[in-house]
Symmetry: C2
Subunit: 478 residues, 2 copies
């Protein structure tokens, strides 16, 4: 496999196929998520969905097809999405009177339904999420990162007041950041998007930005305060407590199968995938070694250890394929399994296993140092080890990010910095200046970090007064 | 609400909206599954998915769009699905070179991928399922039963031998039947479809058929043995153990959001929905009654009881809305909650709750008899009561079905029987004769029941020799 350090793009493409995460679909830009990759998605889904339910949300399902006229009701929205639409013109053997758009996002169709469901302040808030597929026609497709169809969740909420809708927008923004850190082990920068990078139709867009192994940013989730833009376009009105007719304030927020791309690019290495344990389909793989007479006893022990780990909530797999231990070890390394364990006749006799951690201590030759663990210690200690391994990956990614981030006040330094990572710089806020920076360096403003201190000065590019009262994070991005 | 006994169709439509299960979507024939209905789907999904995983299957995701030419590779398949296709002709602002079909089912695109993935007998079997949306253009849409878009799962497996593929087909057929009985409380008839009712492209189709409250049948799940038809069309070949090139044998099987329609129509009554407990979003609702001083103590007790039930794995809801107890009781009755509990100040003092079962004993006026249960008895006994209630619904549906089923050997009796239920009759097996029966009675052959004994004789309609060696179940169907 092409090393990551040599060509990230080639490494990524080869890895996605070799680890059997995904494959190209038959029509241009489409993808097939294979079982190993889909299991990562299921683990992501279940843990993110639990967070939505814990914050009072319920799931529902809205139609795939949206009448073209709906999109046209919100001017910025249709302008933003028009170039990416797939359109159904014929159905049931006939030409349709009005073409149907395959949803690129569902604010419009959901707005139409909310208008039907809401009449009084008592009907609010509505806190609904949907897990769905969406279609955006991509010219330069890339599996998981930009595909014509992708899977995601889209939350859509409606509220009686701006304050409540803004609170919701930030709540879900924080849920995404917490999820990225605590499940995907990606230490994200949280911040608001600059006006030029906002969602089409939003008043404010907030994003979480992870740093990939090549120093590029990857937007991994967004939360939008939509003001009354969609409520006005779709007539979501309600009588308030004083019987006054008001427009609702709405929000939307989404995370998608892009997140799998983020996990690959944030943690991977030359040997392949590195999966954070909370998203790993297999957390521990046991490779039984032994032939003839001894095979049965070793297999029985492997199976017993696996049962004990399963009972402790660990996702474990016994690899009993007809292949060499070396082949198996490499295969599971490529597939990013956190802990690989070998168990042979001598280990059985000694009452221990030999365990290698996917990312951990290595010897002079760069090979993983194997730990010797007694059976009980191995089983009982695994949940704690998985947590520690999560922390290790998170800390490694955080150090990497910090080493590749810098506060920059000089254009040449800026150019050099965005070639390798994140540049924290002052900016005038003009879209034309953003465009100029992009054409010179390929870098874009990723967000205005929530946590940055107040600061003003001269724009890094044009020298005019800075906007936002804070530094902006610039980076090349996926 | 229109009573079920008066007009099933009106009752069904009103109930779907009033119970907030679903709503019509903006484009013709589309539906919005609202949170209460979607929760039923989530409960169905999780319990069915567990059965798939327990039988060795994994999930994956295949593309929504299928090149038109793929469908054309299997002659019967394209003939069967052509009239129902929705077609994307434009995308990304351009006319597509080849139109893309929005999947009506995925045998073709999955066949294409399996051909890529399989080369040796060692790559088999492939046991994949996907949870997805599909589109079939319906002229007479009906929420949950026939909508232009619906949600489903489709399992697609590939095997080295016919025997293994047939075994898989029957295994999943049995999983569906077990699920219908043990989760949806619907006692289904299992059987093979007659050739005229087979899935387009299948060698054999097996279905489970439930009886609805109006005596009509509802096909609730199908499992198909596809032979080598799709393997030949998509070139799914492998080298067997003797290095001979062979075509794989494939199967497919699906259950959809139709099942929610089946649950409504199999169990509902004049008062509204009756949900089987294993699919009920709320299994127990507690309505606290009490004003002023007492309200707080009652609310605290309601909340404590709810927490104890939750800890026991029961889905419980405390209805603390600002509305009358009578309104709330009717509302939860309409929504089909198995157990409704009231808790007032006097109950609090006496240390008990008053509980009504959605379908159970009634007094002379037809009102549910309320049971008095001590707090501990109420909490500790609930899991067993829910199981007993499931059994009660299943038994009620089974009795109803048996009372509305008859073995028929006379045409006039046949006409009368299919007007009210299932007719077990001998049939010649000719499609023209099936068509004749349909035009005379609206009844179709639902399946050739697996459990029926061997029998031959004269066709119920035309008098020719019977086919299949068994009786066929005829009924009007959804």
């Amino acid at each position: 496999m092409t090393p990551l350090s040599e060509d990230v793009s080639a490494w990524y493409n080869e890895l996605v196929f070799k680890a059997e995460l995904a494959d190209r679909g038959p029509s241009k830009g489409s993808m097939v998520i294979r079982p190993y990759g889909y299991r990562v998605w299921e683990l992501l889904q279940s843990q993110l969905d639990q967070r939505f339910k814990d914050t009072g949300h319920v799931n529902a399902s809205f139609p795939l097809f949206i009448p073209m006229s709906y999109l046209e009701r919100e001017a910025e929205h249709v302008e933003g999405f028009s170039p990416e639409l797939a359109v159904v013109t014929h159905a049931g053997g006939k030409k349709l009177e009005e073409p149907l758009v395959v949803r690129p996002t569902s604010e419009t169709v959901i707005g139409e339904m909310y208008a039907k469901w809401v009449s009084s302040y008592r009907d609010l808030p509505i806190l609904i999420n949907q897990w769905a597929n969406v279609v955006r026609w991509e010219l330069r497709p890339r599996i998981f990162l930009r595909t014509t169809e992708f899977l995601w969740q889209e939350g859509h909420t409606a509220h009686a007041t701006e304050a409540e809708a803004r609170e919701e927008t930030i709540r879900m923004f924080d849920v995404y950041a917490e999820f990225a850190n605590n499940v995907a082990a990606i230490p994200v920068v949280q911040g608001e998007k600059t006006p030029g990078e906002r969602f089409a139709g939003a008043v404010n867009t907030y994003s979480i930005e992870g740093m990939m192994r090549d120093g590029k940013a990857l937007q991994s989730g967004t939360s939008h305060y939509l003001g009354t833009n969609f409520a006005k376009a779709f007539d979501i009105t309600f009588q308030d407590e004083n019987s006054q007719l008001q427009h609702a304030h709405t929000t939307s927020w989404g995370m998608s199968t892009r997140m799998i791309g983020a996990v690959i690019l944030a943690h991977g290495d030359d040997a392949g995938l590195v999966l954070p344990p909370r998203l790993a389909p297999i957390q521990v793989v046991i490779v039984p070694i032994g032939r003839g007479d001894q095979a049965e006893a070793v297999a029985a022990k492997a199976s017993e250890l696996a049962d004990r780990l399963k009972a402790a909530g660990v996702r474990v797999h016994v690899d009993d394929r007809d292949a060499s231990p070396g082949f198996k070890f490499n295969d599971w390394e490529l597939k990013g399994v956190p802990f690989r364990v070998e168990l042979g006749p001598r280990d059985l006799e000694a009452g221990h296993v030999l365990m290698a951690q996917r990312v951990g201590e290595v010897d002079d030759k760069g090979r993983a140092v194997k730990e010797t663990l007694g059976f009980d210690e191995f089983v009982a200690g695994m949940p704690v080890r998985l947590d520690a391994y999560h922390d290790h990956l998170h800390e490694r990614a955080r150090s990497f990010r910090d080493e590749h981030s810098a506060t920059i006040d000089d254009w040449d330094a800026f150019v050099a910095q965005v070639a390798v990572g994140f540049a924290y710089a002052l900016h005038c806020g003009e879209e034309s200046c953003e465009d100029d920076i992009k054409s010179q360096t390929a870098a874009t403003p990723r967000c205005i970090p929530t946590e940055s201190g107040e600061e003003t000065g001269a724009c890094i590019r044009c020298g005019k007064d800075s906007a936002y009262g804070k530094r902006v994070v610039f980076a090349r991005a996926y």
